[in-house]
Symmetry: C2
Subunit: 327 residues, 2 copies
């Protein structure tokens, strides 16, 4: 199997490519070739015995997608996007990359489809940012997208395109709406959602962290390992039971910040919790208060997608995967 | 007020332009200028004392929209679309007109927005074709679009664009999802929905009609007069109570074919009903069985949109508006 990952230099892309390289597999399928693309040339993951091509591309250039498809990948995982904040600041750039770039990719596959029976699996990373207030406590599988950011609108449009192109038989697509990934490894960033990870990651490493919202804020999370698992499952599962509705809310853990902090206390003690300093930030609160608090991800669960079942588990996975298994 | 209607040569566009011409008004606002555009040059409606410009344009040409906006219309009513059947047959044409054409229009307004405070009302005619099975008996205001046609996908994408552009302040947009318009005047057509009108319109005129589906089929209807009323209300209402969710399911009448036929019997007698011949057509049944059966259009009703309250009323409006008031 030949796998193409677009957006392979991002955190999730690297996790996924690393997992493929280590195991030589995606799900139960052996991977013989890996094409990794991003705006900056991704690093080849170590330990992979198959062929790897690493490419720097601009997907908003219509010539990029045909080049990426030259090897007729069996699986295409499309993670590339301008993130929420930047798409909000730069309207044209957001639409150019997130909408036009996605459409160029889908159309490039369409133009190859039919030829030699080419009909790849195409997995599109969507986001719970497609939802906007007012929201129920638990969003079900038929609740409508009504984005409050251009990023969310672009993701929702990508989902509709994917669904239509799949229905037409141009590719076998699945759009998966990822929860907020927590605990993100790496340095603190300025994303509005960054504190959800920082208030755990930093204290676990003995460093201070700032909490900009009340601890009553509830949100929807999954670990980086779970996120890579969703993509892997979507890339290799049998899609025949999915039907025409090719967009799936991924499972996750619904937790308040207080519950996150109690999980931290249980694992790393009061000293870790004492490193969190409350510093309310109205701008962050305004953004976060419009986000989903929870989902009944019934379809995804039925189709075999699995996330963590508690925040304890999310923290333990971070310790295993990012801290060599120990505090 | 200057009003631009794109798609003005279609049935609804002509109804609306005719109503504006006769009254000199759209809602409660006086209309001084009217720009009517379509792929074929629309006819100027009679009786209008203001200025009228009639233009033949191709909205999939990026130069068209700036030309249409030259007079800085206060209200833009965007009805132009490749219809469902054709968008299904010609994939490229459907996306070119229904998606690219709509986006060119929205972007042309965006590029003018800000200049001299230009922020027109923009009404986009969407459709209940954004919904796909399985559907509840009554679709509520938060039920998700999951189109089963490219036309439906293109309309759903237009809604998302309109919502995002409105949120950004580029224009003051409303997307309204029209019910199946019934009774359509004119000749029988080959649209899958055509029989809903034909089984009433033809017998009312003493002519035979074919019913291709069981009379248990339930669907969602509004008269041409109601459809023009929706557009007029959307074009002139106060949008401040609407909020960010700029897409509205329009009210209508949920009726089975049997109920339609009984309404016909009550108004035109058994002789009219006897002109309907049942001739089951599996292809039509397959299409129609995936369509919405009813809506709880609560938001639209609260915002002042009004449809008929019975099929009797729908038939009486046809007799008034299309048959000079008598059978």
């Amino acid at each position: 199997m030949h796998v193409l990952i677009i957006g392979a230099a991002g955190m999730i892309g690297r996790k996924l490519a690393g997992a493929i390289a280590r195991s030589g597999k995606l799900g139960a399928s052996s991977v013989a070739g890996l094409t990794l693309a991003d705006t900056v040339r991704p690093e080849a993951p170590s330990g992979f015995s198959g062929e790897v091509a690493c490419l720097a591309v601009d997907i908003s250039d219509p010539r990029a997608a045909p080049q990426l498809l030259a090897g007729r990948p069996d699986v295409i995982i499309h993670l590339a996007a301008i993130v929420s904040g930047e798409a909000e600041q730069d309207f044209d750039k957001g639409y150019r990359i997130n909408l036009d770039g996605t459409r160029y990719l889908f159309d490039a596959v369409r133009h190859l489809s039919g030829a030699q029976g080419y009909c790849p699996r195409l997995v599109f990373a969507s986001s719970i940012a497609v939802f906007g207030t007012p929201l129920p406590d638990e969003i079900d599988d038929t609740f409508m997208p009504a984005p409050l950011t251009s990023y969310g609108a672009q993701k929702a449009i990508g989902e509709l395109l994917l669904q239509d192109y799949s229905r037409r038989g141009f590719f076998d697509g699945l759009a998966i709406r990822l929860p907020t990934v927590c605990i993100r490894p790496g340095l603190p960033n300025k994303a509005a959602s960054g504190f959800f990870s920082a208030i755990l990651r930093e204290p676990l490493a003995g460093k201070p962290a700032i909490l900009p919202v009340p601890d009553t804020v509830r949100h929807w999370h999954a670990s980086p390992r779970a996120a890579a698992g969703f993509l892997s499952h979507a890339a290799t599962m049998d899609t025949s039971p999915v039907g025409h509705r090719r967009v799936l809310n991924m499972p996750g853990v619904s937790a308040t910040v207080a519950e996150q902090i109690e999980a931290l206390r249980g694992i790393a003690g009061d000293r870790a919790v004492a490193l969190i300093r409350s510093e309310p930030d109205q701008a962050v609160m305004d953004i976060v208060s419009s986000w989903p608090r929870g989902f009944a991800a019934e379809r995804a669960l039925k189709l075999g997608f699995r996330a963590e079942s508690s925040f304890d588990e999310i923290i333990r996975i971070h310790i295993e995967d990012e801290m060599g298994g120990k505090l």
